[in-house]
Amino acid sequence: MKPETIKNGAPETPWRLFWKGFKKNKLAVSGTIIIAGLFIIAIFAPVIAPYDQDAIMVKEILQPPSQKHLMGTDELGRDVLTRIMWGSRVSLLVGFLAVGISVAIGVLLGSLAGYYGRLVDAIIMRFVDVMLCFPTFFLILAVIAFWEPSIWKIMLVIGLTSWMGVARLVRAEFLSLKERDFFQAARALGGKDLRIIFRHILPNSLAPVLVSATLGVAGAILTEAALSFLGIGIQPPDPSWGNMLTAGKDNIEIAWWLSFFPGFAIFITVMGYNMLGEGIRDAIDPRLR
């Protein structure tokens, strides 16, 4: 947006500028590759998984990795690799939808507060403060345990308890953008509120939200694992990395593969999202380059 970015006569849009920075950022690129790979596995799980995810073989309980079972078998003799592939669907979905919900709420409340200011702002921001006071994991636990756990509830609750950061970000962005010329101009030209919000302000505040969203996805995946550890995450027989890891922990000394592979899957995914987030941040903030 700075005037000196106009070179060769071709106007550099913020997006193109962003892309340039992004491409050069090794972190961001490797993060993207990891995540893309995971999505491919998740989408094609039914096709590429070597076994049926629920194929129980009591004669093949806790077999170590072999050519037949690349990642070994679990307590019921099911193929771990297969379940990791299917589990990627759940884990990625949880991450994605939870963050989707939190971003939606955060953007909505943040823009309302930032745009209208005064009373609306005061009320919304007080609410944000209240929510920020709660140990989020306590709230999630309470809701999940009191209502029965299901994948949708877990996503919803994680989303409902993690939007505050986004709301603050968006609001701050609004406050600073409000001072800018283009906003004043849009208003002076008699633009409608919604139109101004959607056309002019939101796109400008998108970048920091994106960063916080990628980190949020990583957080949501870890939260699901923590819930599974406590026995109230995704419920079997549906495999999620969290519940596979938990099922493996009791056998960690005799069957390392049971916890290692799901743990590693979580690790890689979270790393991927973090790298992506970090990369985007570097790419949009030229000062940090």
């Binding site: 920020l132 890891l245 000062r287």
Partner: protein
């Protein structure tokens, strides 16, 4: 200064109100009732007996009345009695669990500060160096491993294979027969792994934050000026930049309290530490309504106090804040 603190305290009132409402609603909108867990295991429990229990706990009244009664008692720190069969006052149950959780969290906050800030600052100063890159990788790894898994691995390594550290709990069985010095050693040994682990997860966020914060400061005009004056690089960094880099982190510390308290559920459970987190988990699973509400409120209060402390200390060092 006094007016600032007063103003802050005043601002807490609507927050308190909001906290009680959220805590209350989360629990009371859920299906099921706490009496079930107590009675449903019993073949011999009659319907009248169930009614009696409902009345006993005041659950037969409408929601707003229950809320009013609860808040009325809350002001005097009477959080009611636990729905568990021990029927103890909630506040007692929380009181005996609170110190250890706070202690561990303060220790890990301290540890985070001691490690994360220098890491972040050094990364910023030597941006894109090998050090910066390896720190980045290291903190990411810390963030990306599920805590309970890492905890188990460490327990096996240090507790069983190397036999250096105790595995779980707060002290050994023969604790009371140890000398004062050995008692201290015993306690410290038990705390080492839980504190390290709970700090580990927080490192990533803090060191990244202090890194980017420092990067920003280094590019500020006054740093350039300092450089232009001909000060040595180390003088520039340690005299001018550092002070300013420390400040905002204090506020972030306050904000990280909820995450720490929430995280305590996991490692208190795995390390068998009888703290707030474990208490909360048991309360939630047993549908101990009053205890869950009590702990939500206390947890939120702790955060509020933490934030207040952070803000006040911030205001003490940075006069601009007070005027705002």
């Amino acid at each position: 200064m006094a007016t600032y603190i007063l103003k802050r305290l005043f601002g807490m009132i609507p927050l308190l109100f909001g906290i009680t409402i959220v805590s209350f609603l989360v629990i009371h909108l859920a299906p099921g009732s706490p009496v079930t867990i107590q009675t449903d295991l019993n073949p011999k429990m009659t319907a009248e007996a169930r009614e009696r229990l409902l009345k006993f706990y005041g659950l037969d009244k409408p929601l707003h009345v229950q809320y009013y009664n609860w808040v009325k008692h809350l002001v005097t720190f009477d959080l009611g009695r636990s729905f568990a069969t021990d029927n103890r006052p909630v506040i007692d149950k929380i009181k005996e669990r609170l110190p250890i959780t706070i202690f561990i969290n303060v220790l890990s906050l301290f540890l985070i500060l001691m490690i994360a800030i220098p890491l972040g600052i050094l990364s910023a100063v030597y941006q894109n160096s090998l050090f910066d890159r390896s720190t980045t990788v290291f903190v990411f790894i810390g963030f990306a491993i599920p805590t309970f898994w890492l905890a188990l691995l460490l327990m096996i390594l240090f507790g069983i294979q190397l036999d250096w550290l105790p595995i779980s709990g707060l002290k050994s069985v023969n604790y009371e027969y140890l000398s004062a010095f050995n008692q201290l050693k015993d306690r410290a040994a038990h705390l080492l792994m839980p504190v390290l682990l709970s700090a580990f997860g927080g490192l990533a966020g803090f060191s990244r934050y202090s890194r980017s914060n420092m990067l920003e400061i280094i590019r500020q005009d006054y740093i350039t000026t300092a450089r232009a004056k001909g000060l040595s690089e180390s003088q520039v960094i340690y005299k001018h930049a550092l002070r300013n880099a420390f400040l905002p982190i204090v506020t972030i510390l306050g904000l990280s309290i909820p995450a720490l308290i929430g995280g305590s559920v996991i490692f208190e459970s795995i390390f068998a530490i009888p703290g707030l987190g474990q208490l909360f988990y048991n309360a939630v699973m047993g549908r101990d309504y009053s205890l869950v509400m009590g702990e939500l409120v206390i947890g939120a209060l702790l955060t509020m106090l933490g934030n207040l402390l952070a803000d006040i200390s911030y205001a003490l060092v940075d006069p601009r804040i007070r005027i705002k």
